[in-house]
Amino acid sequence: MKTRIDTRFEQLKIEGRPGLVTFVMAGDPNLEVSQEILNGLPVAGADLIEIGMPFSDPMADGPSIQLAGQRALKGGQTLTKTLAMVAEFRKLNNETPIILMGYYNPIYIYGNEKFLKDANAAGVDGLIIVDLPPEADDELCIPAMDYNINFIRLATPTTDAERLPKVLENTSGFLYYVSITGITGAAAPDPDRVGKAIAAIKAKTDIPVAVGFGVRTAEQAADLGKGADGVVVGSALVSVILDNLDSDGNPKAGTARAVHALVEDLASGVRSVKH
């Protein structure tokens, strides 16, 4: 059965442009503002939404997303609340795909089958679990198929021709190409090198390829979007939240608006591209 992710990429193909994939951390800076941010993303121009599931030990994330996760956990965010946020969003929007991104342990503790069942019921379309490589597909990736949830795999600059088939094997929805070796929010990627890498992947698969890590501006999004089906922006959006905290760490009025403003700008970037 098609997921919202499949449908969205089909629409984007017809429109002839890359999609904007926005990442926000569930519960950052608090549950209420986080929900407000999430609810307003589609109108601001997000084509797909990644929601971070905060984890105490985010080993693949840079300082921006680490801090976002810490803010969320400090505010009492849990996996149960994150699923409830998705269900709330689905009351307003039944088209925009939602992908949960994070680390395996909170899901493992929640219970894999229970999680997949509850995620499906809440309206989740895909999962990106950073520390579940293809070697561990039996744990969550394959069971997720029974719940019509895409398991989106990361390919990186270290994914060579020998490794790529393994990465593609059970990937569905789209493939997330990590533009740099490193953590989220680090150095800006080189569009030429990324373009070549994506072309090499596209020669091996028909599934859409989105590119992310280090994308901060509309220009970068447009540049990288030329050869890709989607562009992911995370740390830059999360940084807007940090910039809008008062001295006590509480969000100022208009925080959600500020995030949406950056999304609008980024959306204009991807919408300027014609495939």
């Binding site: 984890f55 105490s56 030990d57 985010p58 080993m59 693949a60 994330d61 840079g62 680490q66 956990l73 849990t78 996996l79 149960t80 680390y103 395996y104 342990n105 909170p106 899901i107 493992y108 503790i109 929640y110 950073v130 520390d131 579940l132 490589p133 070697e135 561990a136 795999r153 990361l154 390919a155 990186t156 600059p157 270290t158 994914t159 060579d160 490794r163 990465v167 990590v178 070796t181 490193g182 953590i183 680090a186």
Partner: protein, 409 residues
């Protein structure tokens, strides 16, 4: 969890995917997968390479000073009035702990793999010092990630690492202890995949680390077996070792796992007691989860968030444990027990006075268990305890705990 059927051998793990029973595995970001597979390949080659083993044997003997003595602690035995107590004296190794055994093995692997930069995490600083030592000897630049809290409480080791030419990066994330240092080391590794070798200090992390660290540390148990036969013409009745990540313990235990008459006890940091959160007893009070590349027992909350442990000993201050220990607990082969900060402190002082040995706070936990068990055992029984580190680094911590002011300038 129900107890699995007892296997024919406890020494067969890990399997090809790095599992010890349900524990272990390779839970890492895709960027690191090719590196870990490459490391596995190189390690498999090295295992079958007599030249590699010869190099390690040479360095163990001439650089580290192995074999370390198996010492009959006569005064302590008399004091406790029960079983005969032997110490495997890995605290006499070059760099002052068992950590050097692993570092020499891994630096040779790094060399074989053509890597040019070493990174490491450290808690107490014993592994950091050993890593900085081998990096200096083999001419590698070395970056050591160390929690900010640990940098403060282990200043002698910080200075030693600097003297050895390592760059120390204090980690402020989280509570600034070992797990945070490990997160930061993994972030460095994922960024510098081309040239960097991650020299993990304990028998944890993604496969093949738990296996290769264990293999390099098993020299402890192999020597103990030979030395015991020489001294007593028989195997000991009991082995006791402290467990943080668990590398000194697995090194002593592994060669004895199939000797069914040898009782084996691992000692975790009970901190201020298991009732609250101020301890590091992952096996006694945690539950299975996935962190730092492997499935193992972890201290965590109901949402799967990892808790910050506490121990007076920085080397035991880790909320997880090597996956093979999780397996050995579940199969019942090894018994794991907690020892409180105060008990470890008492044992520390007892050893200073009875044997003239200042132990590190980590093996002081094992010693406290010896103090509990030896008097209940007959005089014909034998306990071997791994005295895995010396206590020079801990005198300031101990002084503080005992309320003694010391000039530190």
């Amino acid at each position: 969890m129900s107890k699995p059927i007892e296997p024919n051998s406890f020494k067969t793990g890990p399997d090809e995917a790095g599992h010890f029973g349900i524990f272990g595995g390779r839970y890492v970001a895709e960027t690191l997968m090719p590196l870990i597979l490459d490391l596995e390949k190189h390690y498999t080659d090295a295992k079958n390479d007599p030249d590699f083993h010869a190099q390690i044997a040479y360095l163990n003997k001439h650089y580290t000073g192995r074999p370390s003595p198996l010492y009959f602690a006569e005064s302590l035995t008399e004091h406790l009035g029960g079983a005969k107590i032997y110490f495997k004296r890995d605290e006499l190794n070059h760099t002052g702990s068992h950590k050097i055994n692993n570092c020499l093995g891994q630096i040779l692997l790094a060399k074989k793999m053509g890597k040019t930069r070493i990174i490491a995490e450290t808690g107490a600083g014993q592994h950091g010092v050993a890593a900085a030592t081998v990096a200096a000897k083999f001419g590698f630049p070395c970056v050591v990630y160390m929690g900010k809290t640990d940098v403060e409480r282990q200043s002698p080791n910080v200075f030693r690492m600097k003297l050895l030419g390592a760059e120390i990066v204090p980690v402020t994330a989280g509570a600034g202890t070992l797990k945070d240092a490990m997160n930061e080391a993994l972030r460095d590794w994922v960024t510098n995949v081309e040239d960097t070798y991650y020299l993990i200090g304990t028998a944890a992390g993604p496969h093949p680390y738990p296996e290769l660290v264990r293999d390099f540390q098993s020299v402890i148990g192999k020597e103990t077996k030979e030395q015991m036969m020489e001294a007593e013409w028989r195997l000991p009745d009991m082995l006791i070792a402290s467990v943080g990540g668990g590398s000194n313990a697995i090194g002593l235990f592994h060669p004895f796992l199939d000797d069914k008459d040898v009782e084996i006890v691992g000692v975790e940091a009970g901190g201020l007691g298991l009732e609250g959160d101020e301890h590091c007893a992952s096996l006694s009070a945690g539950k299975p989860g996935v962190l730092h590349g492997n499935r193992t027992y972890l201290l965590q909350d109901d949402d799967g968030q990892i808790l910050e442990g506490h121990s007076i000993s920085a080397g035991l201050d880790y909320p997880g444990i090597g996956p093979e220990h999780s397996y050995l607990q579940e199969t019942g082969r090894v018994e794991y027990v907690p020892i409180m900060d105060t008990e470890a402190l008492e044992a520390f002082q007892l050893l200073c006075k009875t044997e003239g040995i200042i132990p590190a706070l980590e093996p002081s936990h094992a010693l406290a268990e010896v103090v509990k068990r030896a008097p209940k055992m007959g005089k014909d029984k034998i306990i071997v305890m791994n005295l895995c580190g010396r206590g020079d680094k801990d005198i300031f911590t101990v002084g503080k705990a005992l309320g003694i002011e010391m000039e530190t300038e």
